[in-house]
């Protein structure tokens, strides 16, 4: 008995550290979400989350996360499929996986700078597209591919989505490649022996087996975009009001005019993240039922 207590003493520093600098600050914050300015219990702050300003922030965040998790997910899936099932040479496969590992870890301020230099108003790609011009009948210059004249802006939700996709799709490639590799050759052979077409194989076997993995990976992407702050801040200077940006402004100068409402905002964010990650873990477990090797 005494010996086992002694054993637990060995992990005490770790738990003390986690509690002091993660659990305690977080719960302290969440407790604030249920208090009024005087410290009494209240649900007013949770109600306050449904004010138009805050709802709009949540909607923008959800929108950006949804768009990038789907676009990144689809692109990432096809790339992963191409390098596993498609007949890509080994070196293409391994170098794409390596670059995915690197790009999925790239984000924040440098990523924003890279996209400003590439697709910003005077960026590299913008300049190239702008320069594709021809003379119209009335001798005026027509430049049909000028992205900024066509309504594109890097400093908009669409621009943010394009930027996020840079780390989203490589993340999808990394997460989904093992799942696609787990599809057994025997299943395909068995299906073909029974007279199934390629389409039938995919619709009835491949897709259903992969579905939990695909959904799970997409949720992971969703969470990764939902919690992002630095990229958006550096790209737009905080002009797109994502939930993370509003929280940042709240920390700096109480833009909501109500400290406790700020805590509720942070709580809501963690609830969404926890939901995504929990569902991901669930789907991942379900996926491993078929894909265990």
């Amino acid at each position: 008995m005494l010996a086992s207590l002694w054993n637990y003493l060995g992990v005490l520093p770790f738990f003390a550290f986690i509690i002091a600098f993660l659990i305690f600050p977080a719960t302290n914050l969440f407790a604030g979400a249920f208090q009024d300015a005087k410290g009494n219990f209240t649900l007013v702050n949770i109600q306050g989350l449904f004010s138009p300003y805050i709802l709009k922030a949540y909607r923008t965040s959800l929108e950006v996360s949804l768009i990038t998790s789907v676009s990144g997910g689809v692109l990432g899936f096809f790339v992963a499929y191409a390098i596993t099932m498609g007949a890509a040479p080994r070196w293409v496969r391994s170098s794409l996986l390596t670059f995915s590992g690197l790009a999925a870890n790239f984000g924040g301020v440098p990523l924003a700078f890279a996209f400003i230099a590439t697709m910003g108003r005077t960026g590299f790609v913008t300049a190239i597209l702008k320069s594709i011009c021809y003379s119209a009948a009335d001798a005026s210059q027509v430049c049909p591919f000028d992205p900024y004249k066509a309504g594109f802006s890097l400093y908009s939700t669409v621009g943010l989505a394009v930027t996020y996709t840079y780390f989203q799709f490589p993340l999808m490639v990394l997460v989904i490649t093992p799942a696609i590799e787990g599809l057994k050759r025997e299943w395909r052979e068995a299906a073909e022996n029974l007279g199934a077409s390629a389409w039938q194989y995919w619709w009835l076997i491949g897709f259903p087996v992969l579905l939990p993995s695909i959904l799970g990976a997409t949720l992971l992407l969703f969470g990764s975009a939902f919690g992002a702050y630095a990229t958006a801040q550096a790209l737009t200077g905080g002009s797109i009001l994502l939930v993370t940006i509003v929280i940042g402004q709240q920390i700096r100068g109480d833009v909501l005019g109500d400290t406790n409402l700020g805590y509720a905002l942070a709580l809501g964010m963690v609830v969404v993240m926890a939901f995504c990650i929990a569902l991901y873990a669930l789907l991942d477990r379900r996926a491993s039922r078929w894909l265990r090797r």
Partner: protein, 264 residues
């Protein structure tokens, strides 16, 4: 292996992925070289390196990176060792705890840290030294999933119990076991965890910005707001630094950088 045949779809997706990877990189590099009109020069890089604020903020971030790595190793390696040796039942709990930073975004973490530690009785944001302690703690939390995973995987690959018993029967004490037997056997794992921790800290913006410390992230935001070409040069430089760190990991551990990063 069946003989590979040319599949246009495969090559379409491979091309799209390659373009998405490299066009922004090349675009940034090209942009960073155009500071002098009509020429292709490293002028923007020269300006960056000539700015004492850049050197100061880089020195600060690199120092904090090293300190964070040391604290992480001191905190996590003995803990994980102990769990593998004595408390294997506790492992799932600890693993779950180390994954919490995926659920609590950095902006929320820093909000909590400020609310908790900037007021009495702690008042940690009042002096630079105590703020640095706070920010180090934040960095350790941020990089915890990577460090834990790297060390945990490494620990699983060695036979902790046998090594420990062998060392003890030769008369080694606990510290001796840890430093002369366990640490050397975990070289690669600790190196991987350290590099990704270092890269995370050096590129980090949120903690440093809100705790108002002179790190590289906030410096880059300031440069990005006022200059045109220097940000592109800074982008390439920090890209290079991150990729060197991650590249070494891929080399030594044959590539398993499969976690989503934290703190974007």
């Amino acid at each position: 292996m069946t003989k590979s045949r040319f599949n246009p779809w495969t090559w379409l997706w491979v091309t799209v992925a390659t373009l998405y990877f490299f066009v922004p990189l090349w675009g940034t590099f090209d942009f960073s070289m155009r500071m002098k009109r009509g020429a292709f020069t490293f002028l923007a890089y020269e300006k960056v390196f000539a700015d004492p604020k850049f050197l100061d903020s880089f020195r600060y971030s690199a120092t904090m990176g090293v300190i964070t790595v040391i604290v992480s190793i001191m905190l996590f390696v003995p803990t994980i060792y102990w769990i593998h040796l004595k408390l294997p039942r506790l492992r799932p709990v600890v693993e779950l705890l180390t994954l919490l930073p995926f659920i609590i975004p950095v902006i929320v973490l820093v909000f909590g840290l400020i609310r908790t530690f900037s007021r009495p009785p702690f008042r940690m944001t009042q002096t630079e030294f105590t703020t640095d302690i706070l920010i180090t703690a934040g960095y350790v939390i941020l990089s915890m999933p990577f460090m834990f995973r790297a060390v945990d995987v490494g620990m699983r690959a060695i036979d902790v119990r046998t090594l420990t018993e062998a060392a003890q029967s030769l008369g080694a004490g606990w510290l001796r076991v840890l430093f002369s037997v366990i640490f050397p056997n975990l070289r690669v794992a600790i190196l991987s965890g350290s590099l990704i921790t270092f890269a995370t800290v050096v590129g980090e913006l949120i903690l440093a910005d809100f705790l108002v410390r002179p790190a590289l992230g906030p410096y880059m935001i300031v440069v990005g707001g006022g200059k045109a070409y220097e940000p592109a040069a800074l982008g390439i430089l920090s890209f290079g630094l991150t990729w060197i760190c991650l590249g070494i990991i891929q080399l030594v551990s044959r590539g398993d950088v499969r976690l989503q990063p934290i703190g974007r």
